[in-house]
């Protein structure tokens, strides 16, 4: 009976690439692109309009760095130094180092933090942070608040911003990248491109130096470590290999020192949250001082530490093991790139922690070169992003092409939980892989596919990216139905999946449930909410609402097509092509962030009109199937259930029925 058909769960983003029918070029705004370094500890925005040299934009007090700290104390959302000031008093409601939480599941959060994490209601791995006052925020929203503050800073200087290049650690996986892109969207930014941080640094340095040669970039950020080897050749920046550790950063140096200070203060057990915070701040200051001096005196009254002397060699003893981990990653990456240290023309340092003398010495030893640090290591990433943003905004800058690589292998789970690699790490992106799946029996109309990222052999030890089910596979004898699934990594190293049944040529709907991501609807809701808080932009709000409505109808129609679209008599060919054309148009409009609300609404009406007869026949069919051999009572019951199910599925269709 049709009520046993699966309910359409509107969770899960729909990855479906439209046929290339769009003719409309995207208008560009040369010189209106901004580069954002969204860091664990600090963030900043830089511009390099029309080929100018990059410069960081400063706040009213002349500060370029914006602490990546967001306060939810009271009704207002406050970002930066002001939020930092509230941190000590409201440690649960002021969020720092949110980058570590991006694209992560609750089970991944094994490091100490003062926050209350709440599992998302819909199951899955997603979590929110309870910031008090009944308010729950996702890490993506917190990052969006930082990005919005930077966007506003840029707008105050240069007027409207067209788009942004946002940097991410090279070693970020798909979920972390997707989360960053989503944050940009929620902050009201058109994200031109996600750019790997070491690649951005190389861009800033390389253009500075004639753009030729072989370089390594050692990037010790607040919360991540990346190393990349690049070849520069006449404006082409080719990443040969990248590696690193997304759970090791400069903050770990601070933490090691903080733990030492606590013990040195005569304490046992664990520090309180308050003590921990004070220790961390003191440790960071001591680390910075020790880059200049041989010894420093530290006082943390709350821990009974008064004028305690820390010598540079003591600090170096504490962090030696951490630095050694970064060096091992450097060696492995050189090996992957097929490059000997002596072949390198230079080594670039990125991140404030690379000011630590031990780091510089280790890098010099490993690469056999004195590292380059003449561009401020705190700003070099934003500078590179600004240059790339200028190029992508369409300004007449001398041609620069960035060829980046996939940081982690992409694979699918096979029998017995093993991983079959389909795109190896360090493959140049964009890149696609195709895989053909076949049916085991004639009864099988769907199959589960689990996509993972990582280098381990067992799927359970890799990062789960997404699970999806291929549906609507035609009933063919075993091994006859052949579904070709394409996995496409785009230039942002983000994954999209499409599927096609080879016997019939029918495109399958692929509904991907990202393991650690937000779905499109949640993002759209957050866009609306952010506008509620921020503001006056009604056009953007109605755009977002129209997008949600259209998205719902597209999802419902597509699910219906997958379920019964292939059955005889339910959908004549002419009608199907009309519906599919409307779906394609809708996809295209949705892919364009600037689509007007009227346009989206018009498309929704057209799609509803085109699919109306199909929806009606589908219901009739379901009813007929339900009535055979049933009592009147059963039929009435079936009717009621069916109506409810259809209402649920069709969502906005009801308005159309009245109209028609």
């Amino acid at each position: 009976m049709s009520t046993q058909e699966p309910m359409i769960a509107d969770t899960g983003a729909l990855f479906q690439i439209a046929e290339p029918t769009g003719r409309q070029a995207t208008p560009r705004a040369p010189g209106r692109g901004i580069g954002i370094d969204l860091g664990t500890t600090n963030s900043l925005v830089a511009v390099a309009p029309h080929g100018e040299a990059p410069r960081a934009l400063r706040d009213a007090s002349g500060r370029a760095l914006l602490p990546s700290v967001v306060s939810y104390v009271g009704d207002d959302v406050v970002v930066g130094y002001e939020a930092m000031a509230a941190q000590e008093e409201h440690s649960c409601a002021v969020i720092s180092s949110v980058k570590r939480f991006m694209g992560r599941g609750i089970a991944d959060v094994t490091w100490p933090h003062p926050y209350r994490l709440v599992s998302a209601s819909g199951g899955g791995e997603l979590f929110r942070v309870d910031v008090g006052g009944g308010r729950l925020v996702t890490p993506v929203e917190v990052s969006a608040a930082v990005l919005r503050a930077l966007r506003e800073r840029a707008e105050a200087v240069m007027g409207p911003v067209d788009g942004a290049v946002i940097t991410v650690p090279a070693y970020f996986d798909d979920a972390q990248r997707q989360a960053t892109r989503d944050a940009g969207k929620i902050a009201g930014l058109k994200v031109y491109r996600l750019l790997a941080e070491p690649t951005a640094a190389a861009l800033a340095y390389g253009l500075d130096r004639g753009g030729r040669g072989l370089f390594a970039v050692y990037d010790l950020g607040g919360g991540t470590f990346d190393v990349s080897v690049l070849r520069l050749h006449d404006g082409v920046f080719q990443v040969l290999a990248t590696g690193g550790d997304s759970a090791l950063g400069g903050d770990d140096l601070d933490r090691a020192l903080a733990a030492y200070l606590f013990t040195a203060g005569g304490h046992e057990g664990a520090p309180s949250r308050h003590q921990q915070e004070l220790l961390r701040i003191a440790a960071r200051a001591a680390k910075e001082a020790l880059s200049e001096r041989e010894s420093v005196r530290v006082s943390v009254a709350a821990c009974g530490i008064e004028g305690f002397e820390v010598r540079r060699e003591t600090f170096e003893g504490l962090i030696d093991g951490l630095i050694e981990r970064t060096i091992r990653a450097c060696r492995a990456t050189l090996r992957d790139a097929g490059v000997q240290p002596r072949e390198l023309d230079g080594v670039v340092l990125v991140g404030g922690s690379t000011r630590t003398p031990l780091v510089r010495a280790a890098v010099a030893r490993t690469f056999g070169k004195h590292p380059l640090a003449d561009i401020d290591p705190d700003k070099v990433v934003a500078y590179g992003a600004a240059i790339q943003a200028d190029v992508l905004s369409g300004s007449a800058r001398e041609g620069v092409t960035l060829l980046d690589v996939a940081p982690l292998s992409l694979g699918i789970e096979t029998m017995g939980g093993m991983v079959e690699k389909i795109i190896p790490r360090n493959a140049a992106i964009p890149i696609a892989a195709r895989q053909v799946f076949t049916n085991y029996s004639e009864q099988q109309t769907g199959m589960q596919i689990h996509v993972v990222q990582g280098e381990r052999e067992m799927a359970g030890e890799c990062r789960s990216l997404a699970r999806f089910e291929l549906r609507g596979i035609p009933r063919l004898p075993p091994s006859m139905a052949r579904v070709e699934v394409s996995f496409q990594l785009d230039a942002d190293a983000l994954l999209t999946v499409t599927a096609r049944e080879l016997m019939t040529g029918v495109r399958q709907s692929v509904e991907v449930k990202p393991t650690y991501g937000l779905n499109d609807e949640e993002i759209d809701r957050m866009v609306i909410e952010s506008l509620d808080h921020a503001s006056e932009d009604f056009a953007a709000r109605s755009r977002a609402e129209a997008r949600v409505e259209l998205g719902r109808v597209v999802l419902a129609v597509r699910a219906a097509l997958a379920e019964v679209g292939g059955l005889p008599g339910v959908l004549p060919a002419a009608e199907r092509s009309a519906v599919e054309m409307q779906l394609t148009l809708a996809d295209e409009a949705m892919a364009e962030p600037q689509s007007a609300a009227d346009m989206l609404t018009l498309l929704r009406n057209q799609l509803e009109r085109a699919s109306e007869p199909f929806a009606r026949r589908r219901m009739e069919r379901a009813l007929r199937a339900g009535m055979e051999g049933k009592s009147l009572h059963e039929i009435e019951q079936a009717l009621a259930v069916e109506e409810a199910a259809l209402d649920e599925r069709r969502g906005a269709h009801s308005a159309e029925t009245i109209e028609g």
């Binding site: 439209a18 769009g22 070029a25 208008p27 491109r193 080719q238 960035l402 140049a428 964009p430 230039a491």
Partner: protein, 169 residues
């Protein structure tokens, strides 16, 4: 249908290609095809750029490495080393070779010192290089079947080398 990596990169279909020529052509084509160059284009143009530069990157990966290049030439010649189909699939290595491999494995299991392992490794490494050279010569002479047979053995030897390296850690 097999995608022809050589056609994709506009290079002659042969094993003996200059590494610098491959790299040079790759950079040149990338500059033209990279999706960043089409960010202001229509969605059709952007989609096409994504597909074309994906195909280019795949071809580059397939041609840059001599082993992949040799295997790709076999595939274009009708023998797919990744397939176990009886016709057109990977040739089965000879009984004699399999016996040799079993013996080599026993040697590895018995090797107790790093020096013994290293000696075994060098021997296998040399055998692998010799097979690759044989495959290259066969390909230049148009002998696809011979090349495929050499490459299958080469694969066995490489896997064994990985095992030796794995045993050391």
């Amino acid at each position: 249908m097999t995608d022809d990596f050589f056609a994709c990169m506009g290079l002659p279909r042969r094993f003996d290609l200059d590494r610098a020529a491959i790299e040079g052509r790759y950079l040149e084509l990338s500059r033209e095809l990279h999706p960043d160059r089409f960010i202001g284009g229509s969605s059709a143009e952007r989609r096409a750029a994504l597909e074309r530069s994906s195909a280019l990157n795949e071809a580059y990966r397939g041609l840059r490495d001599p082993i992949r290049r040799a295997e790709h030439l076999c595939k274009l010649g009708g023998i797919d080393l990744d397939s176990d189909a009886r016709s057109g699939g990977a040739p089965t290595p000879s009984q004699a070779f399999l016996v040799e491999m079993i013996e080599a494995r026993e040697l590895l299991a018995e090797a107790t010192t790093p020096g013994e392992r290293e000696a075994l490794r060098e021997k296998i490494e040399a055998a692998a290089e010799e097979r690759l050279a044989a495959a290259a010569a066969a390909l230049e002479g148009g002998m696809i079947r011979d090349a495929a047979e050499a490459l299958v053995i080469h694969r066995y030897l490489r896997r064994f080398l990985d095992e030796i390296d794995g045993a050391q850690h």
